[in-house]
Amino acid sequence: MFRSNNVVARIFQRQICTPAPGTSVHCARRFYENLVPSCTIYDVECPDHSFRKFTDDGQYLISFSRNNQDLIVYRPTWLSFSCKEEDCDSYDLPLKAKRFESFFTQLYCVSLASSNEFICKDFFLYMESNQFGLFATSTAQIHDAPATGGAVQGIPSIEKITFHLLRLEDGFRLDERVFHNDFVNLTHSMGVFLYDDLLAIVSLRYQTIHILQIRDSGNLVDVRAIGTFCREDDELFLNSNAQRVAGPHQLPRNHVENGLDHNQINMNNSFLSGIKQRLLSFIFRSISNEETDKTLRMQCLKKKFYFRFQDYVDLIVWKAQFLDRHHLLIKFGSVDGGVSRNADQYPAFFAVYNMETTEIISFYQNSADELYLLFEHFCDHFHATSRNPLSMSFISSHSNNIHALEQLRSIKNKSSSFSQFVKKMMASLPFSCQSQSPSPYFDQSLFRFDEKLISATDRHRQSTDHPIKFISRRHPYSLKFKIKPGPEAGSTDGQTKKICSFVFHPILPLALSIQQTLFLQSSVVNIHFRR
C-alpha cells in the first residue's frame, strides 16, 4: 500500500488510500518500520529488581524483588528533556534524562509472599479486560513425597501454592486460591491457562483440572473440577448410591462427613477416575468401529486396546489448554514424563474434551499425521484467543504469516524423519497462554531477526556480545535497528556464560534487555527506545 519508505510520505498517503479489506491493522503496523528503538542507554542505573514483562496493553511493567517476596509495578512513561541548542538531534541526551526513572514511575510495591514462601518469577497472567493480574507464590518443593490421599506416585509435592489475584491499578488484593500439598507446574505458567475469564489449573499431583472463573468483582469462583469426577453432580450420585449399597447400619446417616471420606477411599481403589473412564471408552469405541467383521474386530481390540490397557490406565494428565469456552485440549503421558524437563522422549497423547457434555471428542498420539495437519493449517486456533485483545491475533505464527510458514516448511524439509518432525512440533502443544510478546517488532512480515538470539517467546537466551540485528522484510531490506544487550564496550570477561532476556513494550518503541551471569545476581539493564 505504501509507495515510499519515508514516514511523512506514508502519512500523506494514508490520508487518501484505503487499505485492502481486512488489512487496516497490518497497514497501520507498517509504521513500525519507521519508528524503531534504535537508541540505547547502556547499563542504566535501576533498582535491583527482576523485570518480568509489560502487560499486554502496555500499561504496567511487572517486576519482582530479588528476594522473590515483593511485587513492584511501574507505569511506563516517556522521557522529557529540553534542549536549548539549535540542532538538537545531533546532541546526545543530557545525563539527567538517561535514567530509569525517565521511563518508568513506580506505582506501588506489594508484599505477596510471607516468610517461607517465594513468588514464582516465571508465573504471571494478565486479564486485560479488568486489568487484573494473577501471581503465584509457593513454598519449597518436596521430592519423593508419599502418595497419600489419591495423589500420583512420582509427582513432587509443594506444601502450599497460593494464586493471588490483584487489581494492577493500585495493587489491591482481590482474591486468592490456595492448594495444599499439591503440585502445579508454575514455570512459564505452563500449568495454568487463562481464556477470557476462565482459568484452568492443572493439579498434577491429584490429576484434577480445576476450572475457575474470574468475576468482574475480582472473586475467583469454582466452576468445576475435572478428574475424579466429570459432571458436577457425579460425586453426589456415587455417594448416595454407595450409602445405599453399604446399608444404613454401617454408615449412620447423621455422620455424613465420615461416610463420604470412607466412600471416597473405597472409590479410589475400585473406580478409575471419571476422565480416565471417558478416555478409555472413547478409545474402545473408536477401535471397535474400525472393523465390521466380528472376529477381526475382536482381534483388533485385543491388539490395540486390551494389550495396551494398563498403559492407557497409567496415563496421567500433563497439561491442558482451552480451545474455546467449552473445550479443553488435554495432553496425557506417563508419570515419568510429567515432571521431567525433556519430555520429548516419552510418548504423549492428546485428547479434546468437551466440558459441557463431558465427552472426549478426539484422541491422538503425538505422532499422528492428522493432528499435525490440523496444527499446520489452524495453528492460530490452538492459540485460543479470547474475544477482547486485538493484538493477540497478530502474533506471527505459521498460520498467519508467510515467512513463518516458509520457516516451518524448511524445517520440515530438513528433518530426516517426518514422524520425528511431527513429534517435535507436537511437543509445543498444548500452548501456554500469554507466552509470546505482541510487540510489532517481532512481526515476521515487518522484520527479520535471528530467532535463536531473540524471539517473541519470553525465555532466557544465551547472550552474545554482538548486537542483534533487525532487518526489514521489504525493499530495501536494510538494517533497521540493533539490540545490543550488556555493557556498551562489551563484556570484559569473556569466560562466564551470560544469559539475557528481553522485555518489549507491546505498543511503544521501547524495550529492556537484561543481561545477567548465571551465578551472580548482578544484571546489566539496557533501555532501547526511539529517540
Binding site: 450420585f237 448410591n241 445405599r244 449399597v245 446399608g247 469405541r285 473408536s286 471397535s288 468401529n289 474400525e290 465390521t292 480451545l323 474455546d324 473445550h327 479434546v352 471428542i361 478426539s362 492428522e370 490440523l374 489452524f378 486456533h381 490452538f382
Partner: protein
C-alpha cells in the same frame, strides 16, 4: 480531455488517454444481462435463521473426524453405543 472524467488531474498524463467519451448518438450495445428464477425449489425455508457457527473451524474438524470414526458401520454394532438416557442406578446385589 472531453471524457466523462472531465479534466481531473492524474498522476500520469497518459492515464485515461485511451478513453473515448460516450456518444449519445451511438448508444452502447452492452446491456447487462438479468436472470430470473424459473422455479421456486431453491427458495430458503420461511423460518430460516442464519447465524454464526459457535464452534471454530478447528473444533469442527475434530467433531467431523469423530463422527467419521464413531459412525456405526453396520446395524448390529449399534448395541455398542448404549442410549444416552438419564442415569439409572443399577440393581445392586444386596437389594
Amino acid at each position: 480531455m472531453g471524457s466523462t472524467l472531465g479534466d481531473w488531474p492524474s498522476f500520469d498524463p497518459h492515464n485515461f488517454s485511451q478513453l473515448r467519451p460516450s456518444d449519445p448518438s451511438n448508444p452502447s450495445k452492452m446491456i447487462p444481462a438479468t436472470y430470473h428464477p424459473t422455479h421456486d425449489r431453491t427458495l430458503p425455508p420461511p423460518d430460516q435463521v442464519i447465524s454464526t457457527e459457535t464452534k471454530n473451524i478447528l473444533l469442527r474438524h475434530f467433531y467431523q473426524r469423530a463422527e467419521e470414526k464413531l459412525r456405526p458401520k453396520r446395524a448390529a454394532s449399534e448395541h455398542l453405543t448404549p442410549e444416552h438416557g438419564c442415569k439409572q442406578p443399577r440393581a445392586s446385589a444386596s437389594d
